[in-house]
Symmetry: C3
Subunit: 267 residues, 3 copies
């Protein structure tokens, strides 16, 4: 436990000091929020998606975040180019399997990305990750649907098969790689009342992965920071509109004593 | 009058209980706001636009909202596929004729959508709807321009010819189908100082249409809820930036006594 | 000095009175903010980007703003069509060289736009403008990177060679045309903690350019208004989330005494 407590703030400080460039190919709904959350963490977002430039843009980046929320055939091709360039450069690739299970196009895209490039971390809610792991579940749009499966088993089997770290978000967030498991218990119900918190989580994890090669640790640290900021923001907010504004304020101001006091994580 | 009063909150409760999926093919400017307004109403937005997946995504949805704000040829094709799938499934299709009259490409697109699929509800400001009805008016960008025409006549003739419900937004919002007419007098001038309130109205109407087959009633109820929330938000806001934040807070918190007290509707 | 003081508010009043249409072809990250900042200034944004309609949309506009933040081949083609239509109509064209230097695709696009149409004003941060001027510098993503060059020399040589006005944003903003030079010293560090302030600056400048043919004066006036509003917003804001909300409130409420008191400009 003390190890993680230390790491969360240590990694946030590292982000603030190094200000890594985080390259995204993401969706058009929350693209601003993904960029802004990276910025308030102290890093530098770049959101280029043209096939003509993603390979070159990756050369400036310290992590790559892919999100299939509003995918098209062209965007998927650009994602493959970017992911292979990131693999060649040796920077981590985070895939948000946003809406997996909703259509066969989404599922197929996820499998293609996983087959044609090395994805270092897969992030989704329970039903999305279950679908990518091969379980037979149905997503209700992009929102979390209850699925009666053993999430740890799903995450572990996917992590082992794809040789990656797996993050399943929900009331408690689960981080699993082949050998370890963290459960982050911070967060607030208002997060699910705001479009974009899920996408921002992938960007936060990508940002922490840019400064820490142990991706399970990076993901847990990023989740702790984001979710503690969400708890602080919720206390200041009469509703979901205010909550999102305060979330950026609180992430920007996050300090060590607050993290030390509020963090709830096991593993 | 008591019928409408009862209905507005009854329908809002139905949205909150059923949490219908509202599928959008919309513009890139206000796509976040359209998703977020659906979310704060208690429903579930999905914004997929690839031709490869819209037909399948419609199968998860209870209403489809189309908005031509930043249309392209590809997006229009996807809209047609989605609209025909929605027709086949029997869910309502709402078309926001955003910017109609500004270019011939927009007008042509609207007519193609109306000819090649069943559009259940057309929503626009005075000049946009007038153009779609065949009247000779000129839109100034996407903002409302004064047009010297009889709006009720325009709306009614369009409703009858296209066999749909027509909503004309403005200082007072007009809802017309072949047989009835509602005028919603709630709202606030700050709404026109914020990009996206018009687009959000179409999303709100689509959300209410997902739970109420009487589309004129659904539209009037949605408008009352949105516009009353806007009045509440305006009281709390020193300017348009704050207003948009508070609008989401107030919609989220909207309750029956407030709606009963503030609603101003005739018809 | 009094001339500029007077002009800033005079031009803002002209914007509010004339409410010009400002046509954008911009990026998907900050497209909302670009539209909203134009709206709170009192003007009317339009964001159409389809090649099929940009030429016609330009006919409604009083200025054109191009931003290559998330460019694609298709978007660049549409930009060229729009720019040539703007040239033919005689309205000013503002180019935000967002991310120039990050990839050769971006640089090439900027040069193509500059060669194939008349660009009336180029705006970027130090490293972006330096790259477009031909200097050998490297951009770090889209954020400003320190470059050890004489900015005034770079700006002046670019202004003379391309026969345009050049704006270099930074802690102090520099406006240069062939014969004059303004330095706007207003602004606040929180601006660089929020994604989109740079893009909004181009939209603000485009809006002022729509009502004032002297583009250096228009740019300086727009920068003064935007940056003074940013100073006011920063005083009211505990962090970057709140800052962006208050920025729109403060721009909307900006009046002559405030501008007269707070403006810091030389030239």
């Amino acid at each position: 436990m003390p190890t993680i407590k230390l790491k969360a703030f240590t990694l946030l400080e590292r982000v603030r000091e190094q200000s890594p460039v985080i390259h995204h190919l993401t969706n058009w709904v929350t693209i601003y929020d993904c960029a802004q959350v990276v910025k308030v963490l102290g890093a530098s977002p770049v959101m280029a998606h043209a096939q003509e430039e993603v390979e070159e843009m990756v050369q400036l980046a310290s992590a790559l975040v892919l999100n299939i929320g509003t995918l098209t055939v062209q965007l998927v091709e650009a994602m493959k180019i970017a992911a292979r360039a990131a693999n060649a450069k040796g920077i981590p690739v985070v895939l948000d399997v946003c809406g997996a299970g909703a259509t066969s196009f989404r599922d197929r895209t996820c499998f293609e990305l996983l087959d044609e490039a090395r994805i270092d971390l897969i992030k989704g809610n329970a039903s999305e990750v279950a679908r990518i792991s091969g379980a037979q579940v149905r997503t209700k749009g992009v929102d979390a649907a209850p699925v009666e499966i053993d999430l740890e088993e799903v995450a572990l089997s996917l992590a082992l098969r794809r040789k990656c770290t797996v993050v399943i978000t929900g009331p408690e967030d689960l981080v699993v790689d082949g050998s370890r498991r963290f459960v982050v218990k911070n967060g607030h119900p208002l997060m699910s009342r705001v479009v974009g918190t899920g996408c921002m989580v992938a960007s936060v994890i990508g940002t922490f992965a840019a400064v820490e090669p142990d991706l399970a640790l990076a993901a847990a640290a990023g989740l702790i920071c984001f979710n503690v900021a969400a708890e602080l923001a919720a206390e200041l907010s009469p509703g979901p509109g205010s909550f999102k504004v305060k979330l950026f304020d609180c992430l920007d101001a996050l300090d060590e004593p607050t993290l030390a006091e509020l963090r709830r994580v096991s593993g």
